[in-house]
Symmetry: C2
DNA sequence: TCTGAAATATCTCCTAA
DNA sequence: TTAGGAGATATTTCAGA
């Protein structure tokens, strides 16, 4: 895998903040012409450095204002159950993030719903239906202090 | 605040998955011409439904493969200390998410670094320098099972 | 790898239904 | 709110340094 040079890194920094910046604008910022910037972005995409371009929505406006962190521990820790759990989680649209953790708790989930009622339903009818869950501990987000998709590079 | 109709919702769903889809492509998917789609996207942007467009990077390729969840509790819970903590967290580039939580733990942080050594340095020289931290509990992500910026709408 | 230019496509805005 | 069209702007490709 080739290394990134300073120009590549600067391009990634710019696109992490604003994917709508035109090639021309980026070229101007970097004192280059359009072509090399165009080629570099293409290369960063095809090598997989840029995975995708997405629109970030306002969760309050689209009525997903309740964020919950749910910590899950399995009853039995064999491979089969773990894999089954991971598969089931993929299907749950309310779950935006899920991590397999080191330590006491097996999985940490971040969940977005419209209301506490909806969260109740989510746990009752979806999450707790998954096999082999031992402990399930939900805590609610009072306020989002920081949330970015950017990596510091 | 005006409500979104079905077409708006479908546009948002598409742009959440791929912000590079052209107006023309979206129009074709929705059996419309370019103009109405163009106008709706503009409206969704100016009303704030779409907050921003970003490029999502591959954290392994850019060398940020270590993800940590850090749970922080304050020593004293007065407003001044809480606000100071929130301000300091904003400045730390390693912190991608920070939530003020209900319950035992005050804050939950998601942190990305290149290595365990870097995490050690982060805690030692940055995080623990913040005033009034009582308990600080780090757990490491073994595997990312799911991570999306999409909301189910 | 870069510059510069030419071909192609999209964006953007306007008028009208 | 949508359709259609036309000028402005961007993307994409390619020869040459």
């Amino acid at each position: 895998m080739e290394q990134l040079d300073k120009i590549d890194t600067r391009i990634l920094r710019i696109l992490q903040k604003d994917a709508k910046k035109t090639t021309k604008e980026i070229a101007t910022m970097l004192n280059l012409t359009v072509s090399p910037v165009y080629e570099r972005i293409r290369r960063l995409e095809s090598l997989g450095y840029i995975k995708q371009y997405v629109a970030i929505l306002d969760k309050k406006l689209i009525n997903r204002q309740v964020t919950t962190i749910c910590q899950v521990s399995m009853r039995y820790h064999n491979e089969e159950f773990i894999e089954k759990f991971e598969q089931e989680i993929q299907k749950l649209e309310e779950v935006q993030e899920c991590y397999h953790m080191a330590g006491q708790v097996d999985f940490l989930l971040k969940i977005h719903v419209a209301s506490l009622d909806d969260y109740h339903d989510f746990v009752k009818y979806k999450l707790s239906k998954i096999d082999n869950i031992g402990v399930l501990n939900s805590t609610f987000v009072l306020k989002e202090i920081k949330h970015t998709s950017e990596f510091y590079i």
